[in-house]
């Protein structure tokens, strides 16, 4: 049994406006526990614009700057430049954006921030669609998922295209640190935040963030669904430091993806063929990660 290491400090307060069982809310809570009070958050238009509560209140115990949806990467570069120019000490600059604001409209800004080596953490909390506007498909929506713009009918059975691989895009920029995080594994989550804080340069977190109303599951099941996502290989947990990949959770044999699919209404229409296709894709990706980890460890890449 892992030792409980999660910091006791709370920088996300009750009274926030998140739905019950909200993955993005869990992500923020755990993130701020690890980052501490001298964090400056830049938040684009996303669920968290609303969750943080309207003017003149705030549910967050840190400084927050709002920015337009496509400009989070540039915003953290600006905050870091000002903090350095004004010699502000011990400041952690963090962009906190949704999947659409990152892999679709914000991709250029993220790429710019990574390429110019901005000393900041960029967080993509991934609830796999435009949830704040009411569940429209994004580049991060997985194949087959129902959304309001990929409805299920005779012609279309959910989103036809596969999910955009944000980690591959980010890793192509050779960031100082990149990791996948899942609030269902808080010790692993917190350790990665701590690790990232010890490193300078551009850092990236891809956080799994289930959305009960958008994915159509019971809000009491968020943690269980998150565990299932990782343990079935849908959302593997790993980190990449100096180009070396390390898988941070392995549990022997992967659970079948059918369990994960069956737990959510957004996949209800999928058949055995769809599940088999996903199973083979997940298996291939998991094997690729294992190979990459082994190669990185032996220094042969």
């Amino acid at each position: 049994m892992a030792k409980l290491t999660i910091p006791a400090q709370e920088l996300m307060y009750s009274g926030h406006a998140a739905c019950p069982g909200c993955g993005p809310a869990l992500a923020m809570r755990l993130l701020l526990k690890g980052l501490g009070p001298r964090t400056i958050l830049s938040i684009p238009a996303c669920c968290w614009t609303v969750i943080a509560t309207p003017y003149p209140t705030t549910a967050l115990g840190v400084a927050v700057l709002d920015n337009p949806i496509e400009a989070t990467g540039a915003s953290v570069s600006g905050l870091r430049a000002a903090a350095d120019a004004m010699h502000l000490k011990d400041v952690e600059v963090v962009g906190f954006a949704g999947d659409g604001g990152t892999v679709d409209i914000g991709l250029q800004s993220l790429s710019g921030m990574l390429e110019r080596r901005t000393n900041a953490i960029y967080v993509m909390y991934d609830n796999e669609a435009y949830m704040n506007t009411g569940v429209q498909r994004s580049g991060a929506t997985p194949r087959g998922a129902w959304t309001t713009t990929t409805p299920v009918g005779e012609g279309v059975r959910g989103k036809p295209e596969p999910k955009k691989d944000v980690m591959a895009i980010v890793l192509a920029h050779r960031p100082a640190y990149a990791a996948t995080l899942n609030p269902s594994f808080p010790e692993d989550f917190d350790r990665k935040v701590e690790r990232a804080r010890s490193i300078e340069g551009p850092r990236f977190f891809h956080i799994f963030a289930p959305c009960p109303p958008g994915w159509k599951f019971d809000s009491a099941e968020t943690i269980a669904l998150g565990r299932l996502a990782t343990d079935s290989g849908i959302f593997p947990l790993y980190e990449v430091v100096d180009g070396r990949l390390r898988i941070t959770r392995k549990t022997g044999e992967l659970k079948p993806v059918t369990e994960y699919l069956a737990a959510q209404g957004r996949f209800r229409h999928l058949g055995a063929e769809d599940a088999a296709r996903l199973q083979s894709e997940v298996r291939a990706e998991w094997d690729r990660l294992l190979r990459r980890e082994r190669d990185d460890l032996s220094g042969s890449h």
Partner: protein, 392 residues
């Protein structure tokens, strides 16, 4: 003070240096590039102690400035044409965030078709974004106005972004002697920025946020009220500049030989210099003509304009851009300002110099003669109509 031979673009760069801008961010676009190249040299040589963030788009350039300004840094950026249009969304963010950013804009035509000549369509399209707008006539005025812009932008009663524009090539790439004030003088005029921003590490605050209709209108009204206060703050800032640097910047609507004038021509930017010479010629011939330079476009100098036309029969407004479905944008503004004037002169909107066309003294003279003829049309394409006549 030192006399240097500078382009309008280098006048921008030297002003940013003298203002000790702390965060610079820019993306290259013709004809702005030499501004940001020169600043890169200042930073590389250590002359300017600043963070220079080289970004992947103008949209990001202005976002960098907005975020840096939110934390309290003095910021500078520069762009032109398409770049300014791409920034449009962030222009609103800058004023709404009350970010005292100063931006140099080289006025250039908007595509299609591609054209890099002088044209005011880029900045005219940004009229309603909550930025103070200055249009410079000379390279000296560029440098002086950028310094003035920082004082104005950061003034506690204003706290709004300011753009200082210059005509492409006529100023951006043409050199003339510029008196560069010494750093100590500028430091006395423009001390380090005292951040008013609420955003600070360790404080549970939010800048931006979201509101319903109850609070939203308050924020919008605050921006409008700050813009109105520019009218009172600007003369005080210019008084101080005069006292310290020794140059009178002339206010929002400087005039030339308007005493007893029957007709007045309103110009912006470099066209003003050409028109000034024409006024001298016509006055020498006993014609009662005068000139007004629209130096500040936002806030619009309504009172100054109404006072100016008290005894004037006709006014002409020269626009180096035009609004589809309307007369020239400056003419539209002048027209609106004069609606409540005690004396409402007849108005002609002259469209000239579009896309970098040269506007000669001969053409400006014809504008005055059109006005003096008493049969001036509402809208007149100056150079193009002449061309048609020549071809015909």
């Amino acid at each position: 003070m030192t006399m240097k031979v500078l382009s309008g673009n280098y006048a921008q760069s030297y002003a940013a240096l003298l203002a000790r801008a702390q965060v610079i961010s820019a993306y290259p676009i013709t004809p702005q590039t030499s501004i940001v190249e020169k600043i890169a040299e200042f930073v590389a040589s250590g002359e300017l102690d600043a963070q220079y963030v080289k970004v992947e788009s103008e949209h990001s350039a202005l976002q960098v400035c907005v975020s840096a300004a939110a934390l309290g840094a003095r910021t500078y950026t520069a762009t032109s044409s398409q770049g300014l249009l791409l920034m449009h969304e962030l222009l609103h963010w800058a004023s709404g965030m009350r970010a005292p950013i100063v931006m140099g804009v080289v006025n250039r035509a908007v595509a299609p078709p591609w054209n890099i000549g002088a044209d005011h369509a880029d900045t005219m399209s940004q009229r309603d974004t909550g930025w103070v707008q200055f249009y410079a006539e000379s390279n000296q005025e560029v440098l002086d106005t950028v310094l003035e812009a920082y004082r104005l932008a950061e003034h506690r009663d204003v706290r709004l972004p300011v753009m200082v524009t210059e005509d492409a090539f006529y100023l951006s790439h043409t050199v003339e002697p510029v008196d560069v004030p010494d750093p100590a003088t500028v430091d006395a005029f423009l001390p380090r920025r005292e951040p008013h921003a609420v955003l600070a590490p360790g404080r549970a605050t939010r800048l931006g946020s979201f509101t319903g209709p109850d609070h939203y209108v308050d924020f919008r009204q605050d921006v409008g009220a700050a813009m109105e206060r520019v009218r009172e703050v600007l003369p005080r800032v210019e008084q101080e500049y005069l006292a310290l640097v020794g140059r009178d910047l002339g206010g929002p609507l400087p005039t030339y030989r308007t005493e007893g004038a029957d007709v007045i021509l309103v110009t912006m930017g470099t066209l003003t210099t050409t028109a000034r010479g024409v006024v001298d010629d016509l006055r020498a011939e006993g014609r009662k003509v005068g000139l007004a330079k629209l130096r500040v476009f936002r806030p619009f100098p309504d009172d100054e304009l109404r006072g100016l036309v008290r005894d004037v029969a006709r006014i002409g407004v020269v626009d180096r851009s035009f609004t589809f479905g309307r007369m020239g944008p400056a003419a539209t503004e002048v027209s609106a300002a004069l609606y409540t004037a005690a004396n409402r002169p007849e108005l002609t909107s002259f469209l000239a110099g579009i896309g970098g066309r040269d506007v000669t003294p001969h053409e400006v003279r014809r504008m005055f003669e059109t006005l003096l003829s008493g049969e001036a049309p509402a809208t007149h394409w100056e150079d193009i109509e002449e061309e048609v006549k020549a071809d015909g």
